[in-house]
């Protein structure tokens, strides 16, 4: 295809991505170094007969709104927003570092700062859910592959439901069950024989619930892909392994898993990207008191009456940097493959 033809074919989609993905990234970069104008103050002298004159400092509404109108971005503050308490909190971290006698205490107190709290949960979620999804998906795929062929369609039908469900709705459906008044919540209370027990009460339990949701939601994705991979498993390799006396476990370990390895890489890549943006379950589980994520922090800044655009923008930029770091091994590998090919 010639360059010119390619250009016209590709133009609409390129324009959409440029305007609504590339430009917003520039936009958050710019917004993150500006902060809203402070109110313009003015001194008003009020003179009343007999009492005399007093000067008062009040907000000049007109001038303030005029200034905000003229420069909607606000005033330039450089990296201040990145370094403030809501984000990297450099001063606070240094202070904690000086005053903590052990590393454990340091991380404990670091977890009270909003950005590090969000970062901590996001990373824990990403790096626990991703391997669990792969493991669980593989187990379901192997088990389904072993059941009767006629049941497979049914199993796949029900398995797809947690995957296609709207994340917020899926989270709510699970949350209503584990609520202390819901069916699983009551069951846990009955099992533990403790009517006061609530899954929502402790941070650890909430984290586990969110991770269970993450695995429940994404395992079908891994399952479907691994199951398709199992269908292309070369029979002769399995038979050769059997003749060599491999046990069932050894067959899985040395024949099946290596065959599925490219698919595992694919699932891991997609899952890393998707789990890093976790936030609907936090809204659905109403869990922000116990767990926050980077995406949730942006959402929280943007919502509500006071839209803190600068703060959201700074968190966004750092999230994008996080994504870049997460993706860099994949990109480097793809680049090497590409170099090797040409």
């Amino acid at each position: 295809m010639r360059h010119k033809t390619f250009f016209w074919f590709f133009l609409p989609t390129a324009a959409a991505m440029f305007l609504f993905i590339a430009m917003p990234i520039v936009s958050v970069l710019i917004q993150s170094v500006f902060t809203p104008h402070e109110a313009v103050l003015k001194e008003v002298e009020t003179c009343t007969p007999l009492v005399g004159c007093t000067t008062e400092t009040t907000i000049d509404q007109e001038a303030t709104s005029a200034l905000r109108e003229a420069k909607p971005l606000g005033r330039f503050v450089g990296l201040d927003i990145y370094l403030d308490r809501g984000h990297l909190a450099v001063a606070e971290v240094a202070e904690i570092w000086r005053n903590s006698d052990s590393l454990g205490a340091f991380f404990d107190r670091l977890g009270n700062l909003p950005f590090y709290r969000a970062m901590g949960f996001t990373l824990t979620f990403t790096f626990l859910v991703t391997p669990l999804v792969i493991l669980f998906g593989l187990m379901v795929a192997l088990a389904v592959n072993a059941v009767h062929a006629r049941l497979k369609g049914l199993v796949i039908f029900f398995s797809l439901l947690p995957f296609v469900i709207t994340p917020l709705i899926g989270a709510l459906v699970l949350f209503w069950m584990i609520d202390s008044r819901g069916i699983i919540g009551s069951a846990v209370q009955w099992l533990a024989n403790d009517p006061g027990l609530s899954l929502k009460a402790s941070s650890g339990m909430v984290w586990i619930a969110l991770i269970v949701y993450g695995v429940w939601h994404a395992a079908p994705f891994a399952f479907v892909i691994f199951y398709a991979g199992l269908q292309t498993l070369p029979k002769d390799q399995v038979e050769a392994a059997q003749i060599d006396g491999a046990t069932r476990w050894q067959q899985v370990r040395y024949v099946v898993v290596p065959h599925l390895m490219p698919l595992v890489t694919f699932v891991a890549l997609i899952q890393l990207m998707d789990n890093f943006r976790v936030f609907e379950p936090i809204v659905g589980f109403n869990a922000s008191a116990h767990a926050t994520s980077l995406s949730w922090a942006i959402f929280n800044d943007l919502g509500g009456e006071t839209r803190q655009l600068s703060s959201a923008a700074a968190t966004s930029v750092m999230t994008i940097i996080g994504v870049a770091i997460l993706l860099s091994p994949v990109l480097v590998r793809t680049w090497r493959d590409f170099k090797g090919k040409t």
């Binding site: 991505m17 917004q31 192997l142 797809l160 917020l168 008044r181």
Partner: protein, 293 residues
């Protein structure tokens, strides 16, 4: 043919059947339970007194004289006018799917037919864009959209969702088009067609399976989105998902939580139907992406 050596020992067979059954219960039970519970009153679905009330519907009987009630649905659909949100959702989904397939098909086709180096870089850029959490982009939209008075209306949300959808659509359609032999459109070009005519008369008739599969995923993305729709739509233009979130925020008072439960069940029904009719395409789409990687 499974040889005797490949036949599973009974123990393992039972174990794997049990595991599949357990998984089926995990996957399906939450939906069945919520569906069942949506016809109860709150004190039954969230029973403090006795969990078996959720099955027998004690309180529902006391309140309505029968163990099932449509009160939650009445509250959501009539009192809170959920229908408006449903219509908005379908408007958004329809236009997102239509637009993103139109421009994505052109772009994906071009990527699959060009052998220059920049196609690789465009695909990598698309992959990076795919990795961006949508909410970080939303932070970038807010200020410009407020300034230009574009905030809060459906067309803005539609075009934003189309753009967020593009990287995925491009990857998927690119791999579908690569499976269509190049000789098809090249022979058309030899016969004197322009590239666009070749696309129009030769490729379009054979591309529908791939396009339908990609369309399903575009639909799911638009339907399931929460980050973009909740931030970019004004209250009167809300789609279903942000409306459900709003139910939770404002109506955690007694009784009204059942509105949210009913709304959740209502919003699940289209997805259920979708999986029922397009199961094969969804599975095919997932695996096609994986094989191409």
């Amino acid at each position: 043919m499974a040889s005797r050596a490949q036949k599973m020992p009974t123990g393992l067979r039972i174990l794997s059947s049990a595991f599949v059954t357990l998984w089926l219960i995990m996957a399906a039970f939450p939906f069945l339970w919520t569906f069942w519970g949506s016809f109860k009153v709150e004190l039954d679905f969230f029973s403090i007194a006795d969990w078996s009330y959720a099955l027998t519907g004690e309180r529902t009987k006391a309140a309505y004289g029968q163990p099932f009630t449509g009160a939650g649905y009445y509250g959501a659909w009539v009192q809170e006018e959920f229908l408006k949100n449903v219509i908005n959702t379908f408007i958004v989904c329809f236009f997102v799917v239509l637009t993103s397939l139109t421009i994505g098909t052109l772009g994906g086709y071009a990527l699959s037919r060009s052998s220059y180096r920049y196609t690789f870089w465009l695909l990598i850029t698309a992959l990076i864009f795919r990795a961006m959490p949508p909410i970080t982009l939303v932070a970038g939209y807010m200020l410009p959209f407020f300034e230009w008075n574009l905030w809060g209306i459906l067309p803005t949300t539609i075009i934003v969702l189309v753009a967020i959808n593009q990287p995925f659509t491009l990857w998927m359609l690119h791999s579908f088009f690569q499976n269509i032999p190049k000789e098809l459109d090249e022979s058309a070009k030899v016969d004197g067609c322009t590239q666009f005519q070749a696309f129009r008369h030769v490729i379009i008739p054979v591309m529908w399976p791939g396009v339908i599969t990609t369309g399903l995923f575009s639909f799911l993305l638009a339907y399931n989105d929460f980050a973009v729709t909740s931030m970019l739509l004004a209250e009167e233009n809300r789609t279903m998902v942000p409306q459900i979130a709003a139910f939770l925020g404002t109506t955690y008072t007694e009784g009204n939580i059942m509105f949210a439960v009913a709304a959740v069940v209502s919003a699940t029904v289209p997805l259920f139907i979708l999986v029922m009719f397009f199961q094969r395409q969804i599975v095919g789409g997932l695996t096609a992406g994986a094989v191409k990687g």
